[in-house]
Symmetry: C2
Subunit: 362 residues, 2 copies
DNA sequence: CTGAAAGCGCTAACAC
DNA sequence: GTGTTAGCGCTTTCAG
């Protein structure tokens, strides 16, 4: 029946007083460190109980220099990729006794730089960053200099000697392209939201190190091996930013030499592309074949079921967190670069080119 | 070209020394409070720059008692509902200068209690909680007692005098049920993951205050008004926990008097239900009509497009954060209970009952 | 084992 | 305006 009024937490001092011991002893009993007699410990714990004592983690962190908190910086938490990876990070961190501070950058570099600084200032014990594409690494150097571990998610920064966890993309993309080629598709469109500042794609354009670069490399190899020229005119970057996905799709399926297959670089793009195709009355796979990166529950339920490249997203989160925790624990070994296996799931959205006629006559 | 070695951050003391001023003056200049001459300020700022000074937010928080951080407790960040709401919370908090600590409870009460305590111990300035269904409010009382504001998301706790933000569900559910009834459906199945401990649903079962209760209330009213008995045997709770969604769906569409329409209480359930229906060869809407709560990009792209109840998820997040920030700012007015409008989006997954025959003969 | 006292890095009185 | 002196709540020497 205390009066309501807020403020003033009970501190170790309060507990110590009630338990009739020194502040230091109370703190030891409460914090579970140092030497304390059973007698004292129980008295202190009892006092803490009646006083409803809860430690001030801020004060504790200040002394120990460790906050039992990790920071996570992602581009867009609403994107299923990140929310699932986040779940993996979360589960693993929690199991290790760490809390998670989440920062969303909206895929903006300035925000990312800010985010990293904020986390550092809050003294997180380490962080996981999914860097915006084409960012440099200067802001992450500050983290490295601070001595706190970082692990990169979904991206590798060659200039930065830190751990990274990505999904294997080159090989699986090669397979995907082979599949398309096998079905007779040589006019394959590729839509990505990778921001390259609005320039057109060319073979010698440096996209930096990121999943898109890997995918394109795999696809290119398949085309090269097949002796087919990669249709660079159908590779469209900057989707959603410089250009609307709808317009991009529209452009791919019309024109004199249209794409016979479309590859969506992620599920968000796929959804918009699918909507546009439906709006335009373009049928899958009769008029155009469709393949997307990322497996989601709805992909197999569409009509037709969508062929996808599935990457182990949750596991990427788990792996990133596991490595980070190991580093926080003191592991000073060489940076590790994990590439988790992805796989192609063939469903029915990819069909032989020209099957529109077949379909119509069937 | 400093040597690598970690540790030891530069502090105000370091900056003060270099700038040849007192620690207090340096702190004032750095923190942007109190009175400082331009002369001193620039000297301090310059020193801070060369020393790469970054404030220790922990220390700052300890003195001010404010951490500029809010905590968010959700059931499952992987669920699109939460990740989108989180985005709303995030955007709003950030605009107000607050960071966000995310805690995921996995819809587990013990974890939720823990989460709330952790946040309190970390001295967050306030928190947003989407309480697990059917939880009591004792753990949240501690927050209220601490004097820090909480706002409830997607759930209202009558016993707790705090703000809440939910989506209006009773009216829109009434409309949805009306729609179903108008199409001739009286055998309407309802699948929810609401955990009621495995008991069967009956009309007098107390489900507590939560969206499901509201939905059922709205549906019931529509049935009552139409003079049709609510098919309580087709209302299945505990989906995903006590029973697999697939089994539940299977049970609804088979048996002597099967459901002619199925309502999925959220998108996760809908996806599993849809998969099961497809597996079982049950066609929508020919064999069974389908309606789901929550609008997602893929819903309209399915074949047929799914009729949904859309709730303003992002806006709920925004509203919750806005109220919280106002409270943190000192607003002591009466608790506010916001119910944002939802709406029924009619597409093609709901058709007149018995349209299977019509469809077959067409 | 226990207690007194000295900080962690910062802000907040309080004097000058 | 500026500097000095206390703390915030906890951990950590350092003596006993």
């Amino acid at each position: 029946m205390e009066s309501s009024s807020a403020s003033r937490y009970t501190t170790v001092a309060d507990v110590a007083r009630l338990a009739q011991v020194s502040k230091a002893q109370a703190a030891r009993a409460l914090g579970g460190y140092g030497a304390v007699s059973d007698e004292v410990r129980s008295r202190v714990l009892a006092a803490a109980e009646t006083l409803q004592y809860h430690p001030n983690e801020l004060a504790r962190s200040m002394n120990t220099g460790r906050s039992k908190t990790i920071g996570v910086v992602v581009g867009d938490i609403e994107n299923p990729y990140f929310s699932l990876a986040m779940r993996g990070i979360y589960d693993t961190s929690k199991a290790g006794g760490f809390d998670v501070i989440l920062i969303n950058t909206g895929e903006d570099l300035a925000t990312e730089i800010d985010a990293v600084n904020v986390l550092l200032d809050k003294r997180v014990d380490g962080m996981i960053v999914a860097p915006v594409t084409r960012s440099s690494s200067t802001h992450l150097n500050r983290v490295v200099d601070s001595g706190r571990p970082v692990v990169l998610l979904d991206r590798k920064l060659p200039s930065l000697p830190v751990d990274s966890v990505v999904a294997e993309m080159r090989q699986v993309s090669y397979e995907a392209a082979r599949h398309l080629l096998d079905e007779g598709h040589t006019r394959v469109g590729y839509i990505s939201s990778l921001d390259v500042g609005g320039v057109e794609f060319t073979l010698d354009l440096d996209l930096g190190t990121n999943p898109v670069t890997e995918r394109l490399a795999g696809i290119r190899r398949a085309f090269d091996e097949a002796g087919v020229a990669l249709p660079t005119d159908l590779i469209r970057l900057g989707g959603g930013k410089q250009h609307s996905i709808g317009d991009l799709v529209q452009a791919l399926v019309t024109g004199p030499d249209p794409a016979t297959a479309i590859v969506a670089s992620d599920s968000v793009i796929a959804l918009e592309a699918l909507a546009e195709l439906q709006r335009a009355g373009v049928r899958i796979p009769d008029d155009v074949s469709f393949l997307m990166f990322d497996e989601l529950p709805w992909a197999g339920l569409m009509t037709p079921p969508i062929t996808v490249v599935a990457q182990p997203v949750y596991d990427q989160g788990v792996a990133a967190a596991a490595i980070l925790l190991r580093r926080i624990g003191g592991d000073r070994s060489e940076p590790e670069h994990l590439a988790l296996p992805s796989r192609l799931i063939r469903r029915e959205s990819v069909a032989p080119v020209g099957s529109a006629i077949v379909g119509a006559s069937a």
